[in-house]
Amino acid sequence: MNQQPIIIVKDLVKKFGSFVANDHLTFKVKRGEIFGFLGANGAGKTTAIRILCGLSFPTSGELSVAGYNVYTQREKIKQNIGYMSQKFSLYDDLTIFENIRFYAAIYGLSKKEIDRRTDILMKKLGLEEAKKKLIRDIPLGWKQKLAFSVAIIHDPKIVFLDEPTGGVDPITRRQFWDMIYEAARNGITVFVTTHYMDEAEYCDRVSIMVDGRIAALDTPVALREKYHAKNMNEVFLQLARAQKTEVL
């Protein structure tokens, strides 16, 4: 088994003018794990995920994703990752079927492969009947599941999920996490940002970001023990408060 971490981040700094969005982040993500990236809105989660996906350049720091250098091998990285943004971005005016085929096509799958995977996906999601439906006519929960399935349709090594559960009801959220587990079982590393602390419990390891810095990084169990907290929410509040007093 390959023990080399799939994401290596060392001293990542991202500045927008004088504002420091990511302040010397350092962490590693192991192959096949579900890595949670937690923090309040504006803590710098999305900035970090965008850099890892090659959507934006870091100001400084050493980064490698799926074994490729973020500065020089962005094209290789893009080939090996999947990305799902907070908006479950699918095309409203295209059908479910057309959306799936489009994403499969831009990841360079062959025609035969596209047909095969589209069929499997339709059966799995139980959408065979609805495949001619426009995205704008289906419920949010479906959209979310579909967006996730589409993000991993090309079997990426890593999938980045940027707040994938925003605005979705708890039951659908639970079902969604089942899909994430399944992906992880199939060997896809999952990198997920969220601000729902209960979701943190589902991750193998979580890093908690406060004001652009990583305040803590460990398994949920270890974090709870360390901060003598009943749940992740308390852990987070303690960390956030500590940061505030530091600033004052």
Binding site: F57, A105, F160
Partner: protein
């Protein structure tokens, strides 16, 4: 290439699914051309006029007769006093009043000078001007025919209007309309289609995918090149079939210039979408910054030479003027590339400039 094809297929799906926009895009040139061709015309036919004849002799009767038989004018009524003139205008049906002074014929005979007053309704200045000119022309003609026996010499000007013998307005409108519609489809539609992806957040996904930014941009533009081109052909065909607007020069060259202008407008559309993030803003910019200059500052409706100096300079930094000049020259004069190489080069220059600008902006956005 497989990826690129997938992307272009998706773009076409977007376009065909939105059949309302498609209908507008293809219906608009037809409707506009027909409107412009039939409705907006500078020709005068059957303009109503009134006569205040204070002389009532043979000569004035003959002049009135000439006016009526010219085809331009129709005698609406005879007035009896000056006071009735204003009233006649106010009713709005009379566009011109002709007043003969008392003793018209006798004064002409005796003093060789007689006065006739032409009063136009200048609440519509263009028409008033044209009507007064026509009427003066008819008067002069009448005078010449009268004096033919008295003065044995005369100069007969024989005029010929080159390239548009019948002075058809539609000859002007076809090139102008092409500029306007190609600009609209190319710049507006591309900028909308790119900013829409930004608004939806799908642009992020595209950028995170292995598609290269260049492929995204070209893929976005590609379907609109197609649509714009078809539209250009529709306008040319319709102008030719319905209004007899000729293509005297090479059709290939005409299509080439259209293609050049389309590329220019598309690169402008890309530039717009690089600097804006919402469809609304993109639409505002396209409509205000592109449509108005295309209509007003291009020689489409108002001649550039007659504008104040500052506006003329403005016209010279807007691409549509060059395109309209070039295609008019091809269609009406039958000129080849030799006569329009300057316009062609300028259009190429604009295209390169906009592409460079957008590439620069695109890079800034990514970093």
């Amino acid at each position: 290439m497989k990826r690129f094809r997938g992307f272009v297929v998706k773009e076409f799906l977007h376009i065909f699914r939105d059949y309302r926009t498609l209908l507008i895009l293809f219906g608009m040139p037809v409707i506009q051309l027909i409107l412009f061709g039939f409705v907006i015309t500078n020709e005068i036919k059957d303009a109503r006029f009134a006569v205040l004849d204070l002389s009532k002799d043979e000569t004035t009767r003959q002049i009135t007769e000439k006016l009526t038989s010219s085809g331009y004018f129709r005698l609406d009524r005879n007035l009896n006093t000056y006071n009735e003139i204003e009233e006649a205008f106010r009713e709005g049906e009379i566009q011109l009043v002709v007043v003969y002074e008392p003793d018209f014929a006798r004064r002409l005979e005796r003093d060789h000078v007689a006065n006739v007053q032409l009063i136009g309704d200048a609440s519509d200045p263009n028409t008033a001007n044209i009507l007064v000119n026509y009427a003066s022309g008819i008067l002069t003609n009448y005078l010449l025919s009268m004096n033919a026996e008295v003065i044995p010499m005369k100069i007969v000007p024989e005029t010929r209007m080159m390239y548009n013998q019948e002075l058809k307005g539609v000859f002007m409108f076809v090139p102008g309309l092409m500029a306007m519609l190609l600009m609209l489809i190319s710049a507006l539609m591309t900028s909308l289609s790119i900013t829409r992806e930004k608004e939806l957040g799908t642009m992020e996904l595209l950028l995170a995918s292995p598609l290269r930014p260049m492929q995204i941009v070209v893929g976005k533009v590609f379907p609109y090149v197609f649509l714009a081109f078809i539209n250009a052909c529709i306008i040319i065909l319709l102008g030719w079939a319905v209004f007899g607007v000729p293509v005297r020069g090479s059709v290939g060259l005409l299509l080439f210039e259209s293609f050049l202008f389309i590329s220019m407008a598309l690169s402008l559309g890309i530039l717009i979408s690089c600097v804006t993030n919402s469809q609304q803003l993109a639409m505002m910019i396209s409509l205000v910054a592109l449509m108005l200059p295309t209509i007003l500052l291009s020689g489409f409706i108002f001649p550039v030479e007659n504008m104040p100096m500052v506006l003329q300079w403005l016209c010279h930094i807007m691409p549509p003027m060059y395109f309209i000049t070039a295609i008019k020259s091809i269609m009406l004069k039958g000129n080849g590339l030799f006569f329009i190489w300057k316009e062609t080069l300028i259009l190429i220059g604009f295209t390169l400039f906009f592409i460079l600008m957008s590439v620069k902006k695109f890079k800034i956005r990514l970093s």
